[in-house]
Symmetry: C2
DNA sequence: CTTTGTCCATAAATGCTTTCATTTTTGTTC
DNA sequence: GAACAAAAATGAAAGCATTTATGGACAAAG
């Protein structure tokens, strides 16, 4: 069943059917009704490919992330998909892994599919060496690129992120003020935002004349025993700490397990602050104090901006949200 | 830059360029090289929409699930996307929510996009009243439908699932054999597979002459405090139990929190078995004993079957995997 | 009688794939 | 080495199912 069949049965030209389909002006109410009836009767749906060819868009957005099974990224994808669908866009998901090479390939895949926009979820996309980000700039030549939790100053690239630096700085400050002075920062070495948080932590510690202690974990985001093991090793080496700021909730959870393994009391013997305020924060007992980085709001803002770009060709280039410390059981009252 | 431009610059017809592009036979090596050089020089990529129109496919699979931020579903999507991409397919993600109406709408969206196949992730798609599943059968008229963790006997519908019934039955048996007799089954009422597991639990209990105690939670998959609260309420009402089988790891985690809240020792005062063997199993201390339902293998089998269907028009209609009990700290040695 | 505006049809354009026909090459035979 | 057949390489053109620019018919208004 094509538009031609419909036009025949309705006794009009295909152009008229197309106009009815697209809600264009200059179709008499009578004709419109007649066409709609035929469309309804034969359950006709326009061919998406032909439509795409004619309009040069299939209203699709490419969502790319390193690993969509990461709890936090999965949540972001969930929000984005819903919001984009509400705006009449489909989402093509593409997991790139963490390697530069595979990322480049993934991005090319999406471009070949002729998506209307690309969303890079997770700041792991941003490298410190500028020239490594070139593939992103290349993509931006063709289609708008939105960075969720990353920032890159380039034409047609839009950044929406949370002020990780300040959030962690403040959280550290509050922990120090509450009387804890030997605070460890625990992060995943392959994460760009983990490093930005690191600087926030460092700054807070140094401003109070305290020596920062930074421990990085070098493994997958799922390797909790590895994370816990890392901390246990520290302890074996005589490293003692009564506070821990983690770059994400998974690392924080590992810290909680570490404490429980050693029989330490939380928060008295060890206070823990996580990051993301994800569902993981509620998975342990006591529940995790965590920094909420407003993921849903970030996503909403990203979608809104993208829609602006796609229509007006205008959108706010960089937006930064601030994080909130959500207090739960792993910290004393801060 | 179109195929026409390339043909001109290479001094051949567009048909030849197309043949080179598609690796068709009967192109002389010399011509092929010349065309490839031009393609390379101008970084030409064929227009995906035109290609779609000509071939009547854009090599896309629609993945539909209720809520992609659900840890378990997210993992499934992750596996599927990777495997499909390896087979040269893109994935369109569509979260349908839990309502019949929105599911139907989501499925229609995917069909309109002319995907080559549809994967329904999570057994929530299957209703007990047959006629509610009609929208799935309708979709199967147009495109193959793969059910991950659901089963429906219909033309062009393929089911891949884990034997939830037997897995839970065996786990229950083992807990009973280990000497625990007051075992609770804790499930989410909106889950179809939760009910299949329920029957496995019931059967095991009854075979040992024990009275099944079933508690269902009616809320979202994220409401851990709600789940814990549900159990605490039982306790307040004098309900005592020393074993708990949960329909998924999140519910099991809630049970662990319940125990920790009350100061019960795990596994001595309460033994807990979860389901899915997800990352959540490693998020608590002690770690969760859980039933592994072979998600990655299920996904791989699903992808393989789909590829078969898409090529040969032949594939195994129904496959059932068996689950494995993974023992960790929340149970005594079973 | 011309202008303006509404409604609609014709036809071109979108950029590919593929069939079919044609040309070129290769191989065989005498 | 010419003649012919078979095979390989190529091109022309017809799809594929839309959108949209152009222009024509008609009615109302000036």
């Amino acid at each position: 069943m094509t538009i031609y069949d419909i036009s025949e049965k309705a006794g009009v030209s295909i152009a008229t059917v197309s106009r009815v389909l697209n809600g264009s002006a200059n179709v008499s109410e009578e004709t419109r009704q007649r066409v709609l009836e035929v469309i309804d009767k034969y359950e006709y749906t326009p061919n998406a490919f032909a439509r795409g060819l004619g309009l040069n868009t299939m209203r699709t957005i490419g969502i790319m992330c390193a690993d969509s099974s990461d709890l936090y990224l999965a949540k972001a994808i969930y929000y984005l998909e819903r919001q984009l669908r509400e705006n009449g866009y489909h989402c093509i998901l593409c997991c790139s892994g963490y390697e530069l090479k595979t990322r480049r390939e993934s991005l090319e895949l999406l471009l070949q599919q002729k998506v209307d926009g690309i969303i890079l979820v997770g700041s792991n996309y941003i490298y410190e060496q500028e020239e490594q980000n070139k593939y992103i700039l290349d993509a931006a030549l063709t289609t708008p690129v939105m960075l969720l939790n990353g920032s890159l100053d380039a034409p047609n690239v839009y950044s929406i992120l949370c002020d990780d630096y300040t959030s962690v700085q403040e959280a550290t400050n509050r922990m120090i003020t509450s009387g804890i002075r030997d605070i460890l920062y625990f992060y995943n070495s392959n994460s760009y935002s983990g490093k930005k948080k690191l600087y926030g932590y460092r700054n807070a510690m140094e401003e109070h004349g305290l020596k920062p202690t930074e421990v990085f974990f070098n493994g997958t985001h799922e390797d909790i025993s590895g994370m816990t093991g890392q901390l246990l090793k520290l302890r074996e080496n005589g490293q003692v700490f009564h506070g821990l700021i983690a770059a994400d909730d998974m690392l924080a959870l590992a810290a909680v397990k570490y404490a429980l393994t050693l029989g330490l009391r939380i928060p008295d013997d060890l206070a823990v602050i996580g990051y993301n305020n994800s569902i993981l924060a509620q998975c342990c007992y006591p529940e995790l104090t965590s920094i909420d980085n407003k993921l849903e709001a970030l996503c909403q803002h990203l979608t809104d901006t993208l829609m602006d770009v796609l229509t007006d060709n205008y959108g706010i280039k960089n937006t930064m949200f601030s994080g909130d410390l959500i207090q739960r059981g792993t910290t004393p009252k801060l």
